[in-house]
Symmetry: C2
Subunit: 111 residues, 2 copies
């Protein structure tokens, strides 16, 4: 499966980039966990999640653990696709620059 490169402004923004990349690594992630990982206030995270949800990039689940409400989030298929597309776009940019995108890059720089 090939991912078509597509630079995604929504994902590119630093905070959302970190949220999304966190979500790629997990299944359902809890609100508080995310909040602490990205270092946002409740309100700020809530708004970012709403934005991502409106874009269809995340699924939000409100479950009751015991009797306490817990909100969890995961990337939707669309969200994963968008992230992969964005990464591909970044790779193109980097490739154009001549900087290798490999674990151990061969430096092409000299001055």
């Amino acid at each position: 499966m090939t991912v078509e490169p597509r630079f995604d402004e929504l994902i590119h923004a630093p905070t959302r980039l970190s949220i999304v990349s966190l979500l790629t690594a997990t299944e359902w992630a809890e609100f508080k966990y995310l909040r602490d990982q990205v270092g946002l206030s409740d309100s700020a995270l809530s708004k970012q999640l709403t934005t991502l949800e409106e874009a269809g990039y995340v699924d939000i689940r409100k479950a009751f653990i015991g009797k306490r409400a817990r909100t969890s989030v995961r990337l939707s298929a669309l969200g994963r696709q968008a992230f992969a597309g964005h990464v591909a776009a970044l790779q193109e940019i980097v490739a154009r620059s001549g900087l290798a995108v490999l674990p151990d890059p061969v430096q092409a720089f000299s001055d």
Copy 2:
């Protein structure tokens, strides 16, 4: 030479990312050329270049071609380093996500 990953907000912003990545591929680039490539107005580009220069990421040369002033820009050593560091930071983010950064990624996704 290993590049230490360092997420660089200044470089991350989409317009500057495209400016910087263009510059990685060239030596001296001309003002008009950059302006057309990134699709900015003179003033917007001028301001971005000033920002990059103040950060020490670019060198700006005002030369006279014949008798006409021409401004050219190139990445400074610091700029290249910052770009490489930023790319490394992005790689870390991507690596954490389980998405391979290789030309033909092995998909780790399933639902």
